[in-house]
Symmetry: C2
Subunit: 804 residues, 2 copies
């Protein structure tokens, strides 16, 4: 395997970079939304507490060139006869050549090992679980034959807590940014930072496990010469000591001069820094003291490893495809954990500056990818989501996690268009039902949760049970229909970028409505609510009739009708004549049968599939059309305009498994597996260890280039498609159902699955080389009826499933 | 005079920097709001067309260290045996030492002359008048004894036209940014740039007067090595040619490799680049061809010089104070021209990202500083301002110049506070009246102008005459009063940062109301509108009564009453016990008489004056208080919280002249003259050739540091205070009134003033060394009654005024 940029170390659950010069900046995540953020492969960090927009700590400007300082770095210097040799073990920002470079992208940690100028430096960055501390564990070893005098100078740059203000306000912000130094009796230093208005409420701090020689809190002093010193060469590093600058205004940094002293050959010195936030310096003391102890740092790192060990044990697969195993066992559930934390709110693409917040639609889907692993956290998240559902059943598009204020998303900016999204509310039905199927916790249906109001105080808002919330979601769609009696689009549906004049209808919403009814119907049956069951089943039948009457275009399904009744995604359209979601979702919703199902799916393969994935639609629109909206702001082949928008790919996989086509489902799965791009990175460019959101389509010159890694619904849906639909391990209200749809060539596969307190060792055998069809299931050696394992709640169970 | 950073070259109307390493980035402005923007002293540029928020062209991130690339630069390289010697004549971003550096900050141009590596480089940057082109005129002279092979590589970096989106959106923006190269038959190159949605509407372009060797449009290609090349060292400059990269996405730049060839000793080569915007490349051809001709560039530069020559001839002063002469004859009217163009909307502090727009209050005041020089442009501006006045007489706080959409400013973000500012609407009365006094164009009063509506189309909006607009402004304040029958504060008055709970009253608004009545009364008299005259005069008398009844604190005037009736700016307050505007404005409004007038002004001197200017209030509030609002988000001594907020200083000067105290008025004038800081720049830091908005007060460790240069009401009001109140040259409806109030030590002064088509050569004599009191005026040798020169409309007139 090519190792141009790095390789997968599956044993250690790491991706290992062997150069800092990745095509674009590759990221990792540490901590959780409660405290943490992203760190990049050259030591930059973007750290927040609870809200990237409203409580950001470090200043990271993603759009600057890779060579530049971004939020944090470490300088190391070795004293020589010619003066100090200064370099950064992260390569940026000094860009000094290194003898060797390795960065291990681990599960919620990154670890660098670098050699240069006679020293080996190992740096591990992580957030101890439950803490509000970013720990940086630095170990320096003298690998030369001489005694070396080594200094380590870690630096953080702070942002104003209001991340957007830091960027757009160069008047108020710098007048209020404050940094103070506290020398402790022990000789240790704590640097305290805040914007003046937060002084008495919340402060950031940086400290270190050993007394430091000197420090700088003022960027201008540290860089030197009226800031004509640079991050590549801070002039103060030419001096023996830093200047001990505090800041009553200006750009706040925390630069620590840590003198490790004279290191003999083979001697290692270790130092640990902390970046944290607390109510005050006094209130931070416990945490500061705790993580000054190396033993506590080691224990915290071990605890983090154990968390991930437990987390990933929820489901372990062993299939004939090594790349699938790698993704499903490590990288895909890890990415799902990340999207669950940060929604679309903090990445190198979705910069978290406040317009966005936590997405209702996004997080409802993200929860599907963590439901087996952390159902209680998922339930709490669902409760937050339902609390921003409107009394009429529709949902607010997004909310800010720190304040739980919600808003209507981009529809706010377009006053002539509707202010709701056609699909948002329906996704929460899928999340709730998946929670019920994973846990059996039907009591949750009775939990009372407020509906959202912009004007009423929380205690004054209307309440409704979780069940009521779901029923209202269906009713909203049922009651908001257009000229074909199909659901109205609203401002947009899942495809944010098609914003048609008011009155347009969305087939996507119609199909999502159908899928939500399928899901909720199972719940109605489980609680014997015949009245609602009959009602929503009739909705399903009627909507199926309407879709089949109006939306079949001859070879595939159309995607929208405009306010004038014209189809979009039709063979009549020169551009955008076929949409992927138009074909997959009628299958998922149960609206497409037989020939129409197969013809739609075949059209996707014929017209939209490429070697790098399925395009969202095609051909791309060639120029801005305000009546179409955002989609036409992209050049053909980019993003929603004929790009490979990966989120839609697993839906085709799922539809193909419903159609029984396991070979094609797996082909689609395999072709977008990012690990398969590891030898193709000069085209793909994006991290090979997580799904990007989009890949440029074949109408674009840069066909195959991935962007918007990490935070994408691709993660949860590909996990669902892989585990539940291809491997067919499906939680249900009655138990764990096994219904694979696999490549015919497979001999079988194995899965270990934790489910409702029991552990299942499942072996699937495929002696007749079919794709689908369970002919027998044995549970602990006994054949059972059907393919659903009864609920056991404890113990370990051996299951053998035979296809045929 | 110290020349640590530079000096004033008054003969050439320039400030001359002799080092690039100013304490902070110093700016200059080129062009107008129609096309232009700011350029900094190290070659960075922030260029816009018509709206900094919605049509920005270059990407300039002000908060980055001075050493970094910002929007544009030029690299020069000289071929040597050791390879290319690459340096930037602007010093940044290569930071290569230069043999000599000079930057002349001129009137709408900057000119650098730099020597390094055997060449002298002269670069002149300006916008030809009426063009949409930024011209960069580069001349390279071989000053060595050898033949030198010299390349010049100018670079611009483009921004998305929506400036804020460029910063906050790293997903959509880079997918749409496009750069294409057009090779012309002549061999010339035009680089075309746009965000995809603008392709068919408006494109930016860069071209050059000579065929170029090669180019790069993709930042990543130009910097090299996956952008681990840097702006300090673009790796592609190690190669003979650039890569001719276009861009279908990503970061768009325009880098031109201009090979000047072999230069003999003393040989000079000249090349001119253009950055522009047009509907299309074809539509740009005329302008491109025009400015490829050096003769046209020279003519355009000459035309610009003539514009400024004419502009400044409007008023020329010759006083005993050289620094005052320098400011009033060049730098202050020039700064007024800048604020008239960009309001508070495009500077290194007010970054123009769209929240702000053109300020109603700000621009109404800015117009006072250009009224004598460009009354027709001022009138057109007044019309735009009045078109965002509300039908109820209040005004929208700001508007976007490209769309004329208006909004309520920061009050939008605070839903519990009123959504109007108490003062905005009243300022327009001052602007209109000043226009009438300068021009006598009373017909303007009848001009019909719409009132603003957010919902009605322009043609559906209510119309009113200019006169009606002014009357409604007064009525709004008259009708919106609080518990002391004083005007309500609204969200804030002029002091944006004091945002009191609803119901608070503002003495500032009361006084501004008084001043507006004084101004409008003159107009009522001139048009014989007795009814309105009597009405507003009664308002003045009644408001004066109320102010005197409630707002006198014993030694000075209070500034606000809270909703609970408690005073702010009172001796009862521990912090903020006295406010400067509380004392100056009762004098300007005519509400303060005799002892109270003098006591209030003396209290300002005793309690708020410092050697760097008068503080806005004191003592500073020491911690955040949400009931006070923004003022308490600053540390004591900063900005509105006990800082020297310069805008308020000229109002004290004016009040002192009303009180007859010419010595103190001039002392106040002199102490904030930025030119006086030229020897104090390590403390002051800000440009010495224009007023900053604020200087840190004496409660702050960095007392004396100036910030927020260029765009401040300080400019227009200090110009008004200096010319109309200290020198006493006052346009009025009856003619030019002469009523100086000067230091007693002055023997006199001279002024040349253009007024209503006539030119007045005025000499003021002060034989008895008084401050104030005109005893005789002779006009062309004839004594006249009073001190108002009758309107002549033509010719040149000699005036001798004697004080006594």
């Amino acid at each position: 395997m090519s190792q141009q940029y790095g390789y997968f170390d599956d044993a250690n659950k790491e991706y290992v970079l062997n150069t800092p010069k990745t095509p674009i900046k590759w990221a990792n995540y540490v901590g959780t939304l409660d405290f943490g953020g992203l760190i990049d492969c050259t030591g930059g960090s973007l750290i927040c507490k609870q809200d990237p927009a409203l409580n950001r700590i470090t200043k990271y400007i993603a759009q600057m060139p890779q060579s530049e300082f971004k939020g944090s770095t470490i300088y190391v210097r070795v004293k020589t006869k010619k003066g100090y040799q200064v370099f950064s073990p992260f390569f940026a920002p000094t860009l000094t050549p290194l003898d060797s470079f390795e960065c291990r992208v681990g599960l919620s940690y990154s670890r660098w090992t670098v050699e240069a100028h006679g020293v080996r430096i190992q740096i591990t960055v992580f957030v101890p679980q439950g803490s509000h501390t970013l720990a940086q564990d630095i170990q320096v070893t003298n690998i030369s034959d001489d005694v070396l005098d080594v200094d380590v100078i870690p630096v953080y740059e702070f942002t104003h807590f209001d991340a957007l203000k830091q960027l757009v306000n160069a008047d108020w912000v710098p007048q209020t940014m404050t940094l103070k130094a506290h020398k402790q009796d022990s000789g240790h230093l704590v640097l305290e930072q805040y914007a003046f208005m937060k002084r008495d409420m919340a402060i950031n701090y940086v400290s270190c496990d050993r007394p430091v020689d000197s420090f700088d809190g003022d960027r201008r002093v540290f860089l030197g010469d009226n800031e004509f010193g640079s991050w590549a060469h801070p002039l103060s590093l030419d001096n023996e000591h830093l200047s001990n600058s505090e800041c009553d205004r200006g750009d706040n940094i925390a630069a620590l001069m840590i003198k490790l002293g004279q290191l003999s050959p083979e001697q290692t010195e270790r130092t640990v820094t902390q970046l944290g936030q607390a109510d005050s310096v006094a209130a931070a003391q416990d945490e500061i003291q705790r993580y000054r102890q190396h033993a506590n740092i080691d224990a915290a790192f071990e605890e983090l490893s154990e968390f991930w060990q437990d987390y990933l044990t929820t489901m372990v697969v062993d299939t004939p495809d090594a790349a699938m195993n790698s993704m499903l066992n490590v990288h895909n559930p890890r990415q799902c954990h990340t999207t669950k934390n940060w929604s679309r709110y903090l990445s190198l693409y979705q910069l978290g500056y406040g317009a966005r917040g936590i997405g209702f639609r996004d997080s409802s889907q993200d929860l599907l990818g963590v439901m087996s692993h952390m159902p209680q956290e998922a339930r709490e998240f669902v409760e937050r989501l339902l609390s921003v559902q409107n009394p009429n059943g529709s949902a607010m598009h997004q909310y800010f996690p720190l304040t739980m204020e919600a808003n209507e998303g981009d529809s706010r900016d377009e006053e002539h268009l509707p202010d709701y999204y056609g699909d948002d509310h329906l996704w929460s039905v899928l999340a709730v039902c998946q929670y019920l199927k994973e846990t059996g916790d039907l009591e949750f249906l009775n939990k009372s949760i407020p509906f959202y109001s912009k004007t009423l105080a929380l205690e004054e808002r209307e309440q409704g049970s979780v069940y009521e919330h779901m029923l209202r979601a269906l009713e909203f769609t049922w009651n908001n229909i257009g000229q074909h009696q199909l659901p109205l689009l609203g401002f947009a549906d899942w495809n944010d970028t098609v914003n048609l004049p008011t009155g347009a209808e969305s087939l996507f919403v119609a199909n999502l409505f159908g899928k939500a009814i399928i899901e909720l119907s199972e719940v109605c049956r489980a609680i014997d609510d015949t009245a609602n069951l009959e009602k929503i089943q009739s909705y399903h039948a009627i909507m199926k009739e309407r879709v089949n009457q109006h939306a079949w275009d001859g070879q595939w399904w159309v995607r929208y009708f405009t306010d004038k009744g014209e189809p979009i995604g039709s063979s009549k359209n020169q551009y955008g004549s076929i949409y992927t979601n138009g074909q997959s979702w009628p299958v998922i919703s149960g609206f497409a049968d037989g020939e129409r199902m197969l013809s739609g799916l075949q059209s996707v393969f014929d017209k939209l599939n490429t070697k790098y994935g399925i395009k969202l639609s095609g051909p791309g629109y060639n120029g801005f059309d305000p009546d179409l909206g955002g989609v036409s702001t992209y050049p053909p082949g980019a993003k929603e305009n004929g790009g490979i928008f990966l989120h839609s790919n697993p839906w085709v996989m799922i539809a193909e498994t419903i159609a029984g086509n396991g070979d094609r489902a797996f082909e689609y799965y395999n072709q977008i597996n990012p690990a398969s791009h590891n030898e193709n990175l000069d085209i793909f460019e994006s991290e090979p260890y997580c799904y990007p959101q989009n890949i440029l389509g074949d109408e674009h010159k840069q066909f195959g280039m991935g962007r918007n890694a990490w935070l994408s619904g691709t993660s949860s849906w590909t996990y669902v498609a892989g585990t539940q639909h291809i491997l067919g391990i499906q939680p249900s209200l009655q138990g764990l159902r096994i219904d694979p749809c696999i490549p015919k060539s497979w001999e079988g596969f194995k899965v270990t699955r934790m489910f409702r307190g029991a552990k299942y060792q499942i072996e699937v055998l495929n002696p007749k080389h079919v794709s689908k069809g369970v002919v027998s299931v044995s549970l602990n050696g006994e054949l059972i009826d059907g393919n659903t394992l009864p609920i056991s709640n404890s113990g370990e169970h051996n299951v053998v499933v035979t296809l045929g």
